[in-house]
Symmetry: C2
DNA sequence: GGTAACCTGAATCGGCCGTTCCGGTTACCT
DNA sequence: AGGTAACCGGAACGGCCGATTCAGGTTACC
């Protein structure tokens, strides 16, 4: 693959991620191309169709999150801090909305598996946070993950913004 | 106006409010008509175009909210309880998303004035809650109102659901 | 019973978006 | 430097979806 092609592919993914994160689904292919400083044709050279693009982004976002969770989980700090940092990662990375966007399309089995794995990790972490005693217990881990999701998958969400802080304070015990 | 016409107009407004609340903007005129058990033509008999419908709904929702705030504010209970009930009203009434939807269109001056008035009332109430000492002071009333807005204007928001509870807990002091 | 008001929903009209395609450009190898 | 395959740009096409219209049937009310 030629150097410029590789670079352009990169740009496309980056731009798409960004746009999805800040404007939600419904961003058009043309907008993505423009944001990347390329023509639509180039976009289609790299991804056969919209689904392929979404798929790539969703999958790589999930993989990134999974890696991050494992990394943070391995640290020797309170589970609460780990969770906080995971949340921060989710809002800082523009992967925020990707999950929900990707759910608009039919979820292919491979991504579904990955999704479940990440969800499992998150629920496990939340469980540990509760066991450690720093999080309220009157809400189930699954539901808490969902709550965090709504906090993070919000157009315009920023790491450490007021909504996120309030949310986390409301979850702590 | 004939009795059936009045009834149908009513139905249209109700259905639109409901659909907007539970499915967000982007609900089509046909869906609204169907939900109301009417043909699209009837809808257009009562409202010249989509904007007119949205306008009516937004305005009446705001007026309703204003009335509710004044009513609750007059009660002799803690300001915190008043705020809680206002929030509950906002999520129970399907006026939840109306505000944000109505903002998609250009906001006509008259509605803008109404909007500001309601915002003022809310900020004032929040200020009182803070003065009473039951709410954290490290976030400004304006921002808190905005936070509450995101809590309430959420597709699928229900009065007293987990997200709302967590949010309010996070705001209390 | 008559009539104006009302209702219906298929058809129309636009706009937006994904996708294609071909003429022009460029990286890179020899 | 020159050649060529890979790459890029962006106008143009086709489909879809939603707002709006309208001709023809129905109904409330006097």
């Amino acid at each position: 693959m030629r150097a410029d092609a590789r670079r352009n592919r990169e740009r496309i993914v980056t731009s798409a991620l960004e746009l999805f994160a800040e404007r939600g689904p419904g961003v058009s292919m043309e907008e993505i191309a423009r944001e990347a400083g390329l023509g639509v044709g180039t976009l289609y050279r790299h991804f056969p169709d919209r689904r392929a693009l979404v798929e790539e982004i969703a999958t790589s976002a999930l993989l990134g999150l999974e890696a991050e969770i494992r990394l943070l989980t391995a640290k020797d700090v309170s589970r609460w801090d780990v969770l906080t940092q995971v949340v921060a990662y989710c809002t800082a990375q523009p992967l925020a909305l990707v999950k929900s966007i990707a759910e608009g399309d039919a979820v292919p089995p491979e991504r579904h598996a990955l999704q479940s794995k990440v969800d499992g990790l998150l629920r496990g972490l939340v469980q540990e946070v509760q066991d450690e005693g720093s999080m309220r217990r009157d809400i189930s881990p699954a539901e808490i993950v969902e709550i965090l999701n709504t906090a993070v998958c919000r157009p315009g969400a920023r790491a450490g913004d007021a909504v996120t802080r309030v949310m986390l304070d409301g979850l702590s015990s």
